[in-house]
Symmetry: D2
Subunit: 363 residues, 4 copies
């Protein structure tokens, strides 16, 4: 499993399993001179915690971040920032009954096939807890972007069929609900729907939308490291994500050139008449809002009986007991936001050498 | 524009502009001992050529591949394979009228913002001709995969609203039409639709689907380099792609866990009851078909008048004359297939060191 | 300070400062199925500890390794292995007098120039304690290599002018001395010399030699990632190393082709008549012993007064007090060995895709 | 043979074999806005040509560079710069007698072991002609550095035992001799020595020194990508290089801390009293001249009979006929200079994100 690193310039290397001693991240390439407090990290980590809502696992996860290196007197030094979260009570359970069973929708089977063995304790490295390192890294990237005037809005756009379909219905001041869905009415409908599914021992999916404001023009590299290409990878690298859309996304397939092209005019500054492209042209930011979406699958862990096999090729029906989220979407919002922040910052750094003029500004 | 390379183990580095002297690719990491003829490359390049159909540009593009290095007596030596395609008549035109205009839906504006200048001749590096290097590289990756028993089917799934919605309606023996759409009836409907759009000086989008058969289990790295994450990047790195779906894709957002999980049984081999996941679990291939889709936007070049600005912030209406494809989808099929082949092969190589047993098989 | 990672396939990412909370490493790309105990790591870490000899700092460094992830029941799982060593008493000292002074031979000035600030506590990231992560990573690489039958001998070859000049004088069974110098007589002479320097408040340098036995042929990539090129980088990346030699090294400059070429014959196996090349031809291992050397500079921290400036450009004379090694060489032996093991293993993995035949052995 | 790329930010990807159709390089990451003429490239390539001196092969190598992409009207566009040199008369010879013989000192045996086959025509990829791509890339890096005020002096320091030992004896105005050795007297002695060796059908080695002036402080990353570590790799990646020294190099092993530390004072600017370190502290440039050396082995091709084996393990004595340089050193000077320029520029780009202040200068 090489490849626990992400980013070329601002790089996170994450480690840790669900029920190991700890999880963490090493952040490499953070510029020196950034004020950074452990509270900056904790604030982000808290957003991915179950919280207490009934739509999330009732497990108690303290998840206290410790910064082990890379800062002096709460200022970054340019050295790698190591952040660790200790797992609590990680040895308390008996896993003998699931150690050899392949849960449907989980990576149990594929890990065994790839490695010849796996850490079966709570999903091991394939657990959602793997994202702790991403979120800690995202918190740092986010803070750097804010210093440059860039702002990210990320939220649940839909749960099942309950969706915000008109951008005007996104009310960020109504986002303080257990679903992180910025529309009170739709959030209530979605909560009803989730509760119904919970009664049926089932789980639901949804869509997360992310809008990034005030991105300078010129970010993204024109061939393979397009801003949208790197965002797509960032999103699909998150466990439960199965689809990615930039701007109009799949709707472009049914659109026409005359509708889809974003026309331009000038009014003291460049003005685009529309934003079908999601803020990129040829993979490079054009100064408009960056807009993308990720589709999240229903939680694979459900307590209904499911048919599957074990490591000895015996067929069995399993009931996955324990506390599991009936929906991953709300807790994944901060993961999406974190990966977006890292991806954008990484390309923003790449772009610093695009012109001779930039080199001459520094040297 | 660093980042004209793709792939960590099997790496393509592409170069060249639409109307420069030549375009090409350097393929690094191709194992020694593969039979390789220039015809292997040419066959792939011919699939992306306009061809002569009326749904594609009437430009004449010879696009003859030359292998400049990396083989001896038509066998690869392990050394980098350099492939070049010379541009014909590349200096014949006067670009003075478009050199400073920002065409809607094109990367003209963003290149100027990023680099302070751009190669305006035929779109320069942001032209679709940039994919020549990808396709030449894909031809080699494809051949290696075939030697390992892996087979790729890639085709147009929809043009506008005319779509193959049931997998049973994919008839690969009916794919020999100008749209590369494997269903004669739907292809005819789609062609009518395109012609209507052409009359209106407009262009259309569509969806490409790719199915990869016989992929070994265990391919894909479980955190950032998931098979689906890397495919997503590969797809969004193609100029006109705006969306990516793995397996059920965005439909998972409206699905339930009990429907979406692929149950398993054993019948002399592992059997999955369904393939909502598209052949991956936790980013790792599970032995099922790999299934994904890419959404392609309508050709941005349309001959209708469009409003835009020039490099001096003057507003103008432009008519893009010249010969342009009314639809990119059919010619992009081989690009999607090429990027898929490279991505899969690259991860297949990564996976060779996943187990101590593998090291002991080689050493 | 991006670039705290080393290795493409077997990758270490190190973090931590001399007097921060902890130091550590994340090892990515370790194959699954390797037995690994914390004692494997500790044994290597203990070799870089001051030990108690009078030729090393009298600081007490416990340096207890904890494995935080990546193993289950003492077997590697293919997931990243995070290893941490906590710093003891890290906050005990007053640094106000050296925080702004640039010690000659140290990186104080350059860190300040590069980052605008630095962690002045004990040298921060530029301290020799930075190598803890390398050595922990090297312990794992070393164990994998041993499983493949590869053996590394690494030792002090010279201290000052006291050198083993004839390979026959390398007696590995005489290496158990404070200098890790495998010749009792020369070791005693060198110890006398060091003591004399200590009396003069001075420090000394030396040369480390490394010999790797039983390396398969074919390891190393023929252009930029030559085995010797990567070893050279590995060595010069160690703080005090100022020179690198492969095989005959600088002596080749005064040699002739007829002397320097290693002739071959066959005697049931390929036999080289000599090993001037150090076991590589064209950057690729030829089956002979890999032989290289690294030159280590004298410890820059000496208690004699030295002239320098501070951060305000004021000139001062400083006396560096405290406990410092009069010679770095003996403790650097295990660092050289660790970096060599990582470098070799990394290229050994690279080589697994050199031939189509190898792919077919795995798939 | 993946790894035909060098550099993370300013990247060269080289390709081509000695007697294939062509050799070349793709330069990725060159900033837009640099004036670049093919003469800039040619001037560097001409420096590596045999030239006509009797100390170099009498082969006629035209080596005309063509820029195929990446510039418009002789200004770089930020797109990859592809440069090609066609091989002339590449198919004219019969290789049947050497195709299966392993020449001592050459990579014939190791290529066969690694790949199972090799391009035996003129050494294939292991030929010195492989450096054509490096030199073309170096020419571009060099031009960028010059724009930033950085200047590189590179020259032959010794041939055999005939060496410039005192830096004061380096007279750059006396460098216009066939050996590129900047001291007329020593150059003449060395030429006599080479001629004597030629009479004995033998070859000689030497040392190249490189001094880089006016490097800003702060270049080089403090752990693995130290400026000296990357230079060491760059040098050892050149075919015939067997040793590398930074500053005092191997002499530090016999030095003492009080001698080796470079003391500092301030006189309107920071002044170092000496430069034993070669311009780096902790891997980071300190504003002094960067000084390093590379040891070059004698040409392995000599016409004396040598004992070796063939691919069928038969022992034979071979005479390598044809025209070969009796000494590689003079022609390698421009290769060393090129690799140094690329290495320095690459790290100079890396350093642009070291501080938050730098990000704010660009955005």
């Amino acid at each position: 499993m090489r490849n626990n690193s992400y980013g070329d310039n601002f790089t996170i290397t994450t480690w840790g399993e669900s029920h190991g001693k700890a999880l963490g991240v090493v952040i490499d390439g953070c510029p020196a001179g950034l004020e950074l407090y452990k509270e900056d990290i904790q604030m982000f980590l808290d957003r991915r915690k179950p919280g207490g809502s009934k739509y999330a696992t009732q497990r108690k996860e303290g998840d206290r971040a410790v910064i082990l290196s890379g800062t002096l007197d709460n200022v970054t030094t340019g050295c790698p920032i190591s952040i660790m979260v200790e797992n609590e009570n990680q040895r308390s359970r008996d896993y003998s009954n699931i150690a050899n069973v392949y849960r449907p929708g989980h990576a149990d089977y594929t890990f065994d096939e790839k490695y010849g063995l796996r850490d079966y304790r709570g999903g091991g490295r394939s657990s959602g807890r793997e994202t702790i390192g991403r979120v800690a890294g995202g918190a740092v990237a986010h803070k750097i972007l804010r210093e440059l005037g860039i702002k990210i809005d990320c939220y649940t756009k839909s749960i099942g069929k309950f969706a915000i379909t008109d951008p005007k219905d996104v009310h960020l001041d109504e986002m303080d609900n257990p679903l992180n869905l910025p529309n009170e009415l739709i959030a209530f409908q979605a909560m009803d729907y989730i509760e119904e599914c919970m009664k049926n021992q089932d789980s639901v999916g949804g869509v997360i939308e992310c809008v990034i404001h005030n991105v300078p023009t010129g970010i993204g590299e024109p061939v393979f490291n397009k801003l949208d290409a790197n965002l797509a990878k960032a999103m699909l690298s998150i466990g439960a994500v199965k689809g990615f859309e930039m701007g109009d996304g799949f709707d472009v397939a049914r659109s026409k050139g005359s509708d889809n092209n974003d026309e331009m005019s000038y009014d003291g500054g460049v003005v685009f008449h529309s934003n079908h492209g999601g803020g990129v042209l040829g993979g490079i930011s054009n100064g408009q809002d960056i807009v993308f979406r990720a589709a999240i699958k229903p939680t694979p862990s459900i307590s209904r009986p499911q048919h599957t096999i074990d490591a000895f090729n015996e067929e069995i029906d399993i009931n996955i007991t324990g506390r599991h989220d009936p929906v991953i979407v709300p807790r994944a919002v901060v993961v999406v936001e974190s990966m977006a922040a890292i991806t954008l910052l990484d390309l923003l750094m790449d772009n610093m050498t695009s012109k001779m003029d930039n080199l001459k500004k520094i040297y």
